[in-house]
Symmetry: C2
Subunit: 234 residues, 2 copies
């Protein structure tokens, strides 16, 4: 029997209509879907794709422990990869549901690293939160020869400051409890007036405001956009 | 009569199946579509959406002169914005077709700058060439707290070198005649072995190879990806 193919499918930032036609087709036809779920919570990826999963589809939920330690999560991906490998070996295709894009700060790469040497794997790119936030904020990220930088908020202050200063369009992701610290860095660079805060972009409970009016504590799915761009008239 | 709404709709990197469900719905229902076309050539954006445009849809083709001078293109966007404004004022919605994502090195921002103060404008994000190239190359762009930087190739050598050295995942876009120069910069940083060349990602004539084997002259729709990332096992 021929092994199945593993598809890592980007689902976009949250609005189910921002799924691609290819992702929708693959999910609807999948005998097996797999997805990560933070322990004790519903899977965000599954919620985006819920309307596309056919009745009777087998589901592999990978419960990822809430921890900054790597070992417990590593074990969870080991188990998930084992379950997926068993389905592939039985000849079934498996569609792994991924928030945003599978290879842009996504967890799919941990499955890819475990399975791509043994099975056919296709990665289907998705809309990232990066451009979704820019679209919602009405702030073009980059034009012409501008430099774009994406920075996770847990980076040290001096790294954030240096990278923000040297770019034209900036996104700071994964704000969470780092919000106050990131805000201070941006303020020290004199860029607060050019910064927009976006939370849960494209979802019903989206929040969008100038950074100066943003809350002191942000959820994980939040971003600060800074655009220094010149005149966009051309 | 109520004015129509202008939609700036990202179409993804080229594969028509990487259009989002929302973009497909808006295009199919549009009384008017608008798109840029480089003078004398077919519109790449229109070619991606061709199968979605209903018969009888009115088309506004904005012919953009091939030039590095800004003034002629600025005049073309002035004319295009005028045509679109007339359709909106007549009550029609207008869907502007955009390669990739409208706010990520896209030309839609020039229309946005001209029209967003007078008309309702909605930007619909699309899959960028950034993550499409990473997907096709099988190279995760960034994990955890890694820094991602996107750089247009025309930037000076020292800017490219400094920004590449300070990032974990790098994309160099718009290679064209800058290919040799960019390759030398990457080589001087000792990163050639970590660099992948991708041309026309997701299209039938896609090219994908290690940078060391890439051609000396690249088309505009090409990219070099550099991933320095650590162990992706977790």
């Amino acid at each position: 029997m021929t092994d199945g193919t593993l598809y890592g499918v980007g689902l976009g930032p949250g609005d189910p209509e921002l799924v691609t036609l290819k992702a929708a087709r693959l999910i609807a036809a999948a005998p097996v879907v797999a997805y990560p779920a933070l322990a004790g919570a519903d899977s965000f990826a599954r919620s985006i794709a819920a309307g596309l999963i056919a009745p009777g589809t087998r589901e592999i939920a990978m419960e990822i422990p809430m921890s900054t330690e790597r070992v417990p999560a590593q074990a969870a991906y080991d188990r998930g990869a084992g379950d997926i490998a068993a389905a592939l070996t039985a000849g079934d295709n498996v569609v792994c549901l991924c928030e945003g894009d599978p290879f842009f700060y996504g967890s799919f790469m941990y499955l890819y690293a475990r399975l791509a040497d043994r099975f056919a794997v296709e990665v289907v790119p998705g809309v990232t939160s990066l451009t979704a936030c820019a679209a919602r904020a009405g702030r073009p990220l980059a034009a012409r020869n501008e430099r774009v930088t994406v920075l996770p908020a847990p980076l040290p202050d001096h790294v954030l400051a240096e990278r923000i200063a040297g770019a034209d369009g900036v996104a700071v992701m994964k704000l969470g409890r780092h919000m106050g610290r990131v805000r201070a860095v941006i303020d020290s660079l004199g860029l607060t007036a050019r910064a927009t805060y976006v939370e849960r972009a494209t979802l019903d409970n989206e929040v969008l405001c100038p950074l100066a009016e943003a809350p002191d504590v942000a959820p994980y799915f939040s971003m600060i956009l800074i655009t220094k761009g010149a005149d966009p008239w051309l």
